[in-house]
């Protein structure tokens, strides 16, 4: 692990601010994806007093080779967790709450009802807008409907990588199914902002990324984030390339040309990174598009 990272992969931590977020989460017996996935932005986001909560335990039923979240026997769902998440959102005074989960292939609805409950609780206890980042629920339309019915402001599902690399990076997922989730959501809930995210630096080509973006745009998906894959440990996939900030800027420009309402493409971008700003800016673009058409 001794290659020095490119200087653009540099972050800052103020441990007091980070620990304050940890303490709040611990006190409410909540997990954050920030901590569980080892996100390098935790210093920056803690400074803004924000975190992305991860419901349904710390153990994921899949084993994607790019992800640092623990895999293993999943924890029993806690029916009080949604209320505590809403409580955390309230205490942090978040204006935009982002919630994700581990993948729960063991649950009949994949955890959809837990997402639904979290959205309801946050709406009841706060005035925050709500963004949920869902797994594919194994393509279960009714599970997706369960989440759609609660009308989250942003509904995200990550495609993660280009089609060719799915067997390597995401063997338990299906490229077309993830695209299908995005399309099904947008078709059945057109007023939502639909969002996806992917990583680069896994060995994909520029053309493959553009094809991915076109495939995603075709589903009607509105928002996109793209970030550099960072290898959590020796057991995870190798970083094939540290993609330059210039290439990220190109991807962002392509995304805008393709008609995405918003795109954050940056080495350190993650699906929840700057989520509140991305949502707010996209709302403004949508309004402006309506006016200038």
């Amino acid at each position: 692990m001794e290659n020095k990272k490119p200087e653009w992969l540099r972050v800052r931590y103020n441990m007091r601010e980070v620990n304050a977020i940890y303490a709040l989460a611990d006190g409410l017996e909540l997990n954050t994806v920030c901590r569980e996935s080892g996100c390098p932005n935790i210093g920056k986001c803690s400074k803004c007093g924000s975190a992305t909560f991860m419901i349904l335990g710390k153990k994921c039923t899949r084993n994607c080779r790019f992800c640092d979240v623990d895999c293993g026997a999943p924890e029993a769902p806690d029916p009080d967790e949604p209320r505590r998440v809403a409580d955390a959102v309230k205490r942090l005074r978040l204006t935009h709450a982002v919630i994700t989960s581990v993948t729960r292939d063991d649950l009949p609805d994949g955890g959809a009802s837990a997402f639904a409950a979290v959205i309801r609780e946050i709406r009841e206890m706060t005035s925050a807008t709500v963004e949920v980042l869902i797994p594919d629920f194994r393509g279960d339309r009714e599970a997706i409907d369960t989440v759609i019915r609660e009308s989250p402001d942003v509904l995200g599902h990550n495609v993660e990588t280009v089609k060719r690399l799915y067997p390597v990076a995401r063997p338990q997922a299906v490229y077309e199914r993830s695209l299908g989730v995005l399309k099904y959501v947008k078709d059945n809930y057109p007023s939502a902002m639909v969002k996806t995210a992917f990583m680069v630096g896994l060995g994909e080509t520029r053309d493959e990324v553009r094809e991915l973006m076109r495939d995603v745009r075709e589903t009607g998906c509105d928002l996109l984030t793209a970030g550099q894959y960072l290898q959590p440990s020796e057991d995870h996939l190798n970083v094939v390339e540290y993609v330059t900030p210039e290439t990220f800027a190109d991807y962002a420009a392509d995304a805008r040309k393709m008609g995405f309402l918003g795109a954050v493409c940056d080495p350190l971008a993650r699906s929840s990174y700057l989520a509140a700003d991305l949502y707010r800016d996209a709302l403004a673009v949508r309004e402006k598009n309506g006016e200038t058409r």
């Binding site: 594919d136 339309r141 077309e176 299908g180 099904y184 809930y189 057109p190 007023s191 008609g259």
Partner: protein, 315 residues
């Protein structure tokens, strides 16, 4: 597989047939091919006025209908072939390509180099098919369009937003370029025969059933829904409108909100301000009804006609 070949061009009957087939208590796959006369078909959750110039469609005799699946607004005419696949839910879940594959394979056998791209089919980079799904009970309905020899000018004309007056308009930036299959096939188009060929291949040569084999009374009853204002317009999502129009009588400025196809709040300034003030709230978004109400209020039938069109399209 139950293969149904419907020869009616009545979009209300055909959408009712689909919904009827979806309700059948069977585990068998159902495959249906059908065409519509000119019709604008909006997605379940769309504001149809924002997606299509509804007054223009009505003037041109184009039916305006809402379907039960989500997604965007499409235009059907005799050169477009619709296919419907109904299967029981399985553990594969959402899988657009799996529902499209048999039709795409049939197209290739018919010398159309069809490729599946997400939930669409493309031929030499042009989109010839889009699709949508819904699920009721344990059954999944997937249907799609197939552009064979459609009038692409009309397609664009009737699926272009009429104005920027509607707030909840879908942002269709960079829609994929569309094309007809006849462009690569050449020859004289015969959509009915081409559809028969698709059906022959997908069904493995099975004898098709016609709608008459089913409970046509039940289908006709369902068709009433697709002819009703209550379904087509009355199930529109909330939206708001803001726009202006110059008329012989002066400039109209109007903003209104609508819920369930009815105006529930409105501000009108311009000609006949006092007369119109009380007429709009509670009015149905229906051109004939609006024209009548406005004519009664203003005694100016010509103005009322223009105004009714403006209220529904912003033009």
């Amino acid at each position: 597989m139950i293969y149904v070949r419907c020869r009616s061009l009545d979009p209300r009957f055909n959408l009712a047939l689909e919904e009827y087939l979806l309700s059948l208590d069977t585990d068998e796959e159902i495959f249906c091919l059908w065409r519509n006369g000119p019709a604008v078909v909006s997605g379940r959750f769309q504001n149809i006025f924002a997606e299509c110039d509804v007054p223009l469609a009505e003037d041109r005799g184009v039916a305006v209908i809402r379907r039960i699946t989500g997604g965007g607004t499409v235009y059907h005419d005799g050169g477009n072939i619709n296919y419907t696949v109904i299967r029981s839910k399985d553990e594969n879940g959402l899988d657009y390509p799996a529902f499209i594959a048999p039709v795409a394979a049939a197209l290739r056998e018919l010398c159309v180099p069809a490729e599946i791209s997400g939930s669409c089919v493309t031929v030499k980079g042009k989109k010839i098919s889009g699709s949508a799904q819904t699920t009721v009970g344990g059954r999944v309905l997937h249907h799609g369009t197939l552009l064979y020899s459609a009038d692409l000018n009309d397609l664009r004309r009737f699926t272009t937003p009429p104005s920027a007056c509607f707030d909840s308009a879908a942002i269709g930036s960079n829609p994929a370029p569309v094309g007809n299959m006849i462009d690569v096939l050449g020859g004289d188009p015969d959509p009915e025969e081409f559809a028969d060929e698709i059906g022959r291949i997908v069904s493995g040569g099975a004898a098709p059933l016609e709608p008459e084999s089913f409970d046509t009374d039940a289908i006709e009853k369902l068709a009433e829904k697709y002819a009703s204002w209550e379904w087509n317009i009355g199930s529109s999502p909330k939206f708001s409108f803001r726009g202006g129009k110059d008329t012989k009588m002066g400039k109209i400025r109007l903003s209104y909100t609508s819920k369930r196809g009815v105006i529930d709040g409105a501000e009108w300034s311009g000609p006949y301000e006092n007369e119109i003030k009380n007429v709009l709230i509670g009015a149905r978004l229906d051109r004939a009804a609006l024209r009548d109400a406005l004519t009664r209020a203003t005694s100016d039938g010509s103005f009322a006609g223009d105004a009714a069109g403006f209220i529904l399209s912003g033009k």
